[in-house]
Every structure is written in C-alpha cells, then in structure tokens.
C-alpha cells in the first residue's frame, strides 16, 4: 500500500491541523517577539556585547594564575571564608528553630481554622519574597556592620521558606502512627513524640541541610553590602581590578561549596537513609 492509498483511506490523519499549527506558531512567535522587544528596550547592542567580551577575555587572562599576594592576606581571606561558613550555619539553624513552631501553626492537621492558617501563610510568603541582601541592609541598621547582620539576614529570609516546607512536611505525615501510639495507652504528647516527630524530623533535617548548602552560596555575597564574610573582599578586589586575587577568592568559594555539598550529602543520606525524599 502506498502513501496515496493510505491518504485516501485515512484522510483525517493526513489533513493539516491548522488550529494546532497556529497554537504552536503562537507559542514560538510570542517569546521570540518578547525577546526582541526586551533586547531593544534594555538597549543591548552587539557592539557593546563584543567590546565587553573582549575586555572579559583580557580579565580572564589576568586572572591566571590565581594568587593571594602575601601570607597575611591569605590569612584574612581564610578567616573571611570561616566567617561565611559560620554565617550560613548559624543563619540556617536559627531560621529552622524559629520556623518550627510556625510550621505547626500553618499545618492543616494541627490548626483547622483556615483564616488563621491563611494569615500565617501570607506572612511567611511576604518574608520569603524579600531577598537576603535586602534583609542584610535592614539588619545592618539594627546591629551595625559585620557578620552578625549577615546571620540575621540569612535567618530572616530562610525563616519564611522553612515555615512553608515544615508545614507541608507536617501535613504529609501519616496520622495512623499517632493513633497507634495513643491506642497503646500513650498520651497526646506521647503520640506527637513517638508518632509524629519520627516521621517529620528526618524530612526537616534533610531540608535544613539542603538549605545550609545553598546558604553557603548566599553567604558569600552578603559581604557586598557589608554584612560580613568573603563577599566583602571579593567586592573590593574586583573594584581595584586585582584579577589574580579575584580568581583565587572564587576558587576558595568553589572549594568550600563543594566541600559543604559533599559533607551535607553524606549527612542527609545518614539521616533519611534509603527512603525516597518527599
């Protein structure tokens, strides 16, 4: 059977579907048009791009080899890196501790009144929408320049995210374990301790570890506004065009992030075991 015969027998399968094609065309044309409009309205010109790429090439040439100058400077950098890690660690931990009670308040199976839950959720959303860097600027007004403001900034912005994730973990918990404990003669508190907590704690711990990883990255940049950590030096070295130092600092950050990722991946694995992550 040849194609012509097939077409004659099943005309609907071979007829062009103009409606579908129009949808596909619109799905392609609209983003491309928006892309062109964005390029035009943001004043992106090829000459600027190429001139910039040329300069960027020069910078990359100057970045090699990475160097740290004097030993005193190396020690300063290492201390700043330790500060960054400390900020990420404390900020994440404080955020988790503050978010735990709110997670319970925002969970459907703990507080059944929707109006209250709605309020808590919108509050968490608002806190979450404000970036770490903005929180850092606000906290600097309160405790002054330095890493403590960074800790508080990380704490504030993650607090919203943790509250949401924790409440979801609590809502997803199986109530049968709690009922089981209570039917064996346990009190309500026993039910929460031996029925609910073992279910949600590993999930929460793994989320906290995951955020610690990503906060190591955030903590490297809050130094740009003066909230401590290695970002401050990165900012200064870029301003004075010391490209060797810049690349050294970037490598330092990369090494730290990779190390933290490896450690926290192992810890996460130890905490949740082989269970699929929810």
């Amino acid at each position: 059977m040849d194609l012509a015969a097939l077409t004659a027998r099943h005309p609907s399968a071979f007829r062009p579907d103009w409606g579908r094609r129009a949808v596909v065309a619109a799905c392609v044309v609209a983003p491309v048009a928006l892309f062109a409009y964005a390029l035009a309205s943001l004043d992106v010109s090829w000459s600027r791009v190429f001139a910039g790429l040329g300069r960027l090439g020069d910078f990359v040439g100057l970045m090699l080899p990475p160097s740290y100058g004097t030993t005193a400077k190396l020690l300063t950098y290492l201390h700043a890196l330790a500060e960054t890690l400390a900020i990420a660690f404390l900020g994440t931990l404080l955020a988790a501790m503050l978010a735990l009670p709110l997670g319970f308040l925002a969970a459907r199976n703990v507080i059944p009144t929707w109006i209250f839950r709605f309020g808590v959720r919108r509050f968490l959303d608002t806190v979450r929408s404000v970036d770490t860097l903005i929180w850092a600027l606000i906290w600097i007004n309160v405790v002054g320049l330095g890493p403590f403001a960074g800790v508080l900034a990380i704490m504030s912005s993650d607090f919203g995210a943790f509250g949401k994730l924790f409440s979801e973990a609590i809502e997803a918990a199986d109530n049968k374990a709690v009922e089981g404990v209570e039917s064996a003669g346990g009190s309500r508190l026993h039910g929460v301790r031996f029925g609910l907590l073992p279910q949600v704690l590993p999930v929460m711990a793994s989320q906290v570890l995951y955020f610690f990883e990503s906060n190591t990255r955030s903590a490297t940049i809050i130094g740009i506004v003066g909230a401590g950590g290695i970002g401050q030096y990165l900012y200064e070295e870029i301003k004075v065009l010391e490209w060797g130092h810049v690349s050294f600092l970037v490598l330092l950050v990369l090494a730290a992030v990779v190390l933290i990722d490896a450690v926290s991946a192992r810890l996460r694995f130890a905490v949740i075991g082989n269970r699929p992550q929810r």
């Binding site: 964005a38 943001l42 600027r48 001139a51 931990l93 929408s129 404000v130 970036d131 606000i138 970002g231």
Partner: protein, 294 residues
C-alpha cells in the same frame, strides 16, 4: 479453666534485658555525642560571626521602630492614609519593575537555550564521548556554583553599568542550574520511542526531534518557568551592584533613609514576585495537567 502462662526464667530474661538496655544506651550516647558536637559548632560559629546578644536585644527596638518608620510618611502619618504621597514615584518604579522583569526574562531565555544545548552533551544516554560529557558537567557546575551577583560584579566592570551585565549574569547562572536539571530529565527518558523512530529509518536528528523532544519538552518548560520565578527575585537585586533593574533605587532609598520609599519599593517587589509566582504556577499546573490528560 486457668491456663498457665509459660514464663521464661528470670535469669534468661536478664540477658535480653541487658542487651536491650545496652542498645538503648548506645543510641543515647550517640545522640548525646551529636548534640555535643552541634553545640560546639554553634559556639564556634557564634564566636567567628561575632554574635552579640547584648547588642541584639539592646537594639531590637530599632528593628521594630525601623519597620514602623518605613511605613510612616514625612508628615508623621501612616503611609496607607495618603497613597498618592506614598507612591509618588509609581511611574518610575513601574518602569524599573518592567526593566527588572525583562532582565529576568532575557536571562532565563538565554540561560535556557544554553542549558538546552549543553544538557544533551551532559546526559549519559545520548551518544557522546565521555570527556565531552565530563567537561560539560564541570562547566555547568562552575556556572551554578559561583553566585550570580559575583558574575554581575565582574560583568559590570567589563560591559559597563546597565541591564546588560545583569542579563548575562542571570543567564550564566540559569544555564548552570537548568543544565543539570535538563540533563537529568534527558537521562530519565524512555529510549523505546527513540529506537522506534530510528527503526523507521530516521537519522539521529529526527530521532531527537520525534523521539526525545516530545518526552522532555513539557518538563523543560516547567523547569524554565520555575527558574523564571527565581530570576525575578535575582533581577530585583541586580541593581545593588549597578546591573540594572529596581534594586538601584531600593538600595539608594535604604542607604539615604528615604523611609517611605523603602516600603513602597519593597511592597511593589513583593507584589510583583507573588503575581509572577501565581501566574507561573498556574501555567505549570496547566502544562502538567495537559500532560497527564493525554
């Protein structure tokens, strides 16, 4: 009729009880050790990051008064009493917000296209030399590990002030983040349709177009939309380092203590971010729903 419940002799039970208690004690010791290590780490971190609870609680009033102050106009009334005065710069801010959204859009599209190309090189099941896969993966890792603001700082020096460095910084970071996710999607596809297309005599490109692409496209779009949400937040702070968008005005308002402007711009950013979240969530659910309906 009374039945005698057989009892094990206490001596035999004792061994089991001892074993149980030893096991529990070992667990307790491990937990205590964990807590001790955690406490030591907290103390060390607090020392390094100069945590000063005295200053914190002494100045906590400043935090609440600052929040109160940014919601107060110059004449001492709350901002909500006079919206026209509060949002005096609405026209300019909306233009800057539009610029922020365009930066996020361009960065997402550029990064998404780069990720699309590289993900096929980084995926294990696509026919590719191991060294090429290895270098593609390391490159993507580098792109997503360096914070976007660091890229932006460097690009501002190279390309000059304005939205362009912001777009490129977001683009590179997006490429790294999406490239990893895309590669995982490509690795998880069902190879049977690809083989089926190949069996009809199609070449490699046709196999990708009709075998691979239909399986991955909806996931790709969904991840890209999610990334757009993240990039809107990222673009809002690009102005902190001079890379365009509304961040420039925000940082100026905070630094120069234009209190009511701070709350106005923050409110606009928060509302925009929430709206974008809502729209992209709708779009993603519609996409996934259509996928399941087929």
């Amino acid at each position: 009729m009374a039945t005698a419940i057989p009892h094990r002799p206490d001596a035999q039970n004792q061994a089991l009880v001892d074993g149980y208690e030893a096991a529990i004690a070992a667990r307790r010791r491990r937990t205590l050790l964990g807590i001790a290590i955690l406490a030591a780490l907290i103390l060390a971190a607090a020392r390094i990051s100069e945590v000063d609870l005295g200053t914190f609680f002494g100045n906590l009033g400043r935090f609440t008064s600052y929040i109160g102050r940014i919601f107060t106009l110059e004449d001492g009334h709350l901002v909500f009493t006079n919206p026209a005065e509060w949002l005096w710069g609405l026209r300019k801010w909306l233009r800057l917000l539009g610029e922020t959204l365009l930066i996020a859009y361009l960065g997402t599209v550029i990064g998404g296209l780069g990720a699309f190309g590289l993900s096929f090189l980084a995926a294990r099941n696509m026919v590719v030399a191991p060294w090429l896969r290895f270098s593609a993966r390391r490159f993507l890792e580098f792109c997503r590990t360096v914070p976007e603001l660091v890229f932006a700082l460097i690009f501002v020096v190279a390309f000059g002030l304005g939205p362009l460095p912001g777009v490129l910084a977001l683009g590179i970071h997006t490429m790294g983040a999406l490239g990893k996710l895309f590669a995982e999607v490509v690795e998880n596809i069902d190879m049977k349709p690809v083989e089926g297309v190949a069996a009809t005599g199609a070449n490699w490109a046709q196999g990708v177009r009709f075998g691979t692409l239909p399986q991955v496209l909806s996931n790709f779009v969904s991840y890209t939309l999610l990334r757009f949400e993240v990039n809107v937040r990222g673009a809002a702070i690009m102005g902190f380092v001079g890379a365009g968008g509304i961040g420039q005005d925000l940082v100026e308002a905070i630094r120069k203590f234009y209190y009511s402007d701070v709350s106005a711009i923050l409110m606009l950013i928060v509302v925009t971010v929430m709206l974008i979240d809502l729209v992209t969530e709708r779009a993603r659910h519609a996409l996934i729903g259509r996928e399941l309906g087929r």
